[in-house]
């Protein structure tokens, strides 16, 4: 093992232990406040609702976390959800097959992710602007495709993906745990994962150590796209209807979840499990606002402030921090 990879792995472990603890404590503190402030918070129904919303956000943000680990960013995930959901919805309507629709949804997400990966890795475009351009292309095509219509009413088998229960827990929660395990194993225990950390920590060192940068970059953007496709299915199944703007509100929360979870925008630092806690914290805050009957117009403002705060702390910890760069 070379230095870049070894230091990446060590850093990942340290950050994991140190940051997850604080963040879980923060989540607990929010829970205590909400339990004191609202009678509804501690009801089974509400807690399951929080878990279900957090799992949807986590599915989206977990793929994004891998991208951010390489010091990149995927701004197209919200638009991706929109297109994947709308095309999956029309395939289900046309063929009546939930399986085919689901496969299409993930496929569309994957295709958008692959395109992002090609633009970033092969065409060497800055990730921000490449995925930002992609956002608007995808957004426009989705609106054109839907032409202002709504597709609604899906088979029960499909809807179970978003609103069904198994052994008392919502099905998305199981998906969350499956992808937490898969994501953590992939990032922490495989060579691929370590190479992704290495690219983010020090790209030049990674390249000199023989990491195939372009291939790994395409991989992370493809995974992020596919996860957006999967998240779109869960959301579609939950909403039971699809419109062109279905995914727009997701981009900022997904980035916020990863940042709150301790993933650094500078790359090389962060974990998938941290993102899970980040998604949980953000969902708790939004749920709490809901319970305290704070107007929904506050949500973009609050999410924006949370992103800025997370970015702020990211900068602070790096300044005092690990001595890189």
């Amino acid at each position: 093992m070379n230095d870049a990879i070894a230091s990446g792995r060590l850093m990942a472990r340290l950050v994991d232990l140190k940051t997850i603890g604080y963040r879980l404590a923060a989540a607990l503190a929010i829970c205590l406040v909400l339990a004191a402030a609202s009678d509804v918070f501690l009801t089974t129904n509400n807690l399951l609702n929080v878990l279900r919303q957090a799992s949807l956000l986590f599915l989206l943000a977990s793929g994004l976390t891998l991208v951010i680990l390489t010091a990149g960013l995927d701004l197209s995930v919200g638009a991706n959800i929109g297109m994947s959901a709308c095309i999956a919805a029309s395939v289900i309507k046309l063929t009546g097959s939930a399986m085919l629709g689901a496969a299409t949804g993930v496929g569309v997400g994957l295709a958008i992710g692959l395109l992002n990966g090609v633009l970033v890795a092969l065409m060497r475009m800055p990730p921000f602007i490449a995925t930002y351009g992609m956002l608007w292309v995808v957004h426009g095509v989705t609106y054109w495709f839907m032409a202002g219509t709504t597709i609604y009413g899906f088979p029960a088998a499909f809807r179970a993906l978003g609103s069904g229960y198994f052994l008392g827990l919502p099905i998305p929660v199981y998906l969350m745990f499956v992808f937490l395990a898969l994501g953590s194993f992939f990032a922490q225990r495989t060579t691929y994962g370590q190479e992704i950390y290495a690219i983010g920590a020090n790209r030049e060192a990674a390249r000199l150590s023989g990491v195939p940068i372009a291939k790994r970059l395409i991989l992370v953007y493809a995974v992020s796209g596919a996860m957006a496709g999967l998240a779109s299915l869960v959301f579609l199944a939950r909403m039971n209807s699809a419109e062109g703007d279905i995914g727009e509100a997701f981009t900022l929360p997904a980035i916020a979840a990863a940042l709150i979870g301790g993933t650094s925008l500078f790359g090389g630092v962060g974990t998938v499990s941290g993102t899970l806690v980040g998604a949980l914290i953000l969902t708790l805050v939004l749920n709490g606002m809901n319970l305290l009957t704070i107007d929904a117009s506050w949500q973009p403002l609050v999410t924006g402030v949370i992103v800025l705060l997370a970015v702020f702390f990211d900068a602070l910890t790096r300044k005092g921090g690990d001595g890189r760069q």
Partner: protein, 323 residues
């Protein structure tokens, strides 16, 4: 080495002939668009329509000029559309509460300036990626605009406000004059002042600038502040045109501005840019939107077309960069 890169940042010695030599790329795009739309729609080249393109492009130009400078510092301001929207809401709110037009304009400018300075401080002092910082402030501005209006339009019936967009001075529409003044101001700032020299240097090599003892941070904050201020000014024209402040009026307009800058030949990575290219880029985006409108293409598809235009322009930029 590093001092060299400060002494001769690319483009600072830009003369008119040097600018002219760089015309081809964006001029081809503009010419091609004009040709296609002239063939596709007989109204496109009519005098009223050309004036219309000019009028509609002024807001875009006012955003795209500071955006050019921001991108030259290897930054970006995604919050511009949302800040413009918020400033427009503020302007309409002051007028609806019997404030005078100068007071309303001042309030809009201060709103824009506050966000610009905020963006600049977060980017310059905390060294955070501009994309994410301005994404956060975009959410804040958007949220404030929604909260201030409850999601509704603030309609204003104010004669002096309407006169801003509809009026003309010595036969020239005032809106075009405002655009010309902002262009002249930006040109002066970028090519004639110390501020402009540092804008070039910030993109080229900010570390060297810091080592040379220059308070690079102040200039970086000033660049974003200029962007916010111009978003506030654009709010005057937007509100005048619509006779109202609407909480989603200019959401996403920053993308048109970024598109105009990129199509105009300013690079995201090499720290060089030019304002005349941005002017042509603005006209290209304006012509594209107008032409697609004439052909009754849905505005969603227009957005996709602009997105493709950006990606193509970036690809060309990438190939140029490799040489």
């Amino acid at each position: 080495m590093s001092e060299n890169s400060i002494a001769t940042p690319p483009g600072t010695t830009s003369t008119f002939s040097a600018e002219l030599r760089r015309v081809p790329g964006v001029a081809w795009i503009l010419g091609l668009l004009v040709l296609v739309f002239a063939l596709a729609s007989r109204d496109f080249l009519s005098a009223p329509n050309l004036l219309n393109i000019g009028l509609q492009s002024v807001i875009l130009l006012i955003l795209a000029l500071p955006m050019t400078m921001i991108i030259m510092t290897e930054g970006v301001d995604i919050s511009m559309g949302a800040v413009l929207t918020l400033a427009s809401v503020v302007l309409a709110w002051v007028l609806a509460h019997d404030g005078s037009l100068p007071l309303a304009l001042a309030a809009a400018l201060v709103t824009g300036l506050a966000f610009g300075v905020g963006n600049g401080m977060l980017v310059a002092l905390l060294k955070m990626p501009p994309f994410v910082v301005t994404l956060g402030t975009m959410g804040v501005a958007q949220g404030l605009a929604l909260l201030a209006t409850d999601g509704q339009s603030i309609v204003v019936s104010n004669d002096s406000l309407q006169a801003v967009y509809a009026g003309s001075f010595m036969g020239i529409p005032q809106t075009l004059l405002i655009g010309a003044v902002v262009y002249a101001l930006s040109h002066w700032l970028l090519y004639q002042t110390r501020f402009g020299t540092y804008v070039f240097a910030l993109g080229g090599n900010p570390d060297a600038l810091g080592l040379a003892g220059i308070r690079a941070n102040y200039y970086l904050i000033a660049v974003y502040a200029f962007g916010g201020l111009m978003a506030g000014l654009a709010a005057l024209i937007l509100t005048s045109r619509m006779s109202s402040g609407h909480p989603t009026a200019a959401i996403g307009m920053e993308f048109d501005a970024i598109a105009a800058v990129v199509v105009g030949g300013t690079s995201f990575e090499h720290g060089n840019g030019w304002l005349f290219g941005t002017l042509l880029g603005v006209l290209a985006v304006g012509a594209l939107r107008n032409g697609l409108n004439l052909l009754t293409v849905a505005s969603s598809v227009q957005v996709s077309c602009i997105g493709l235009l950006v990606i193509v322009a970036l690809l060309i930029d990438g190939f140029k960069g490799k040489k």
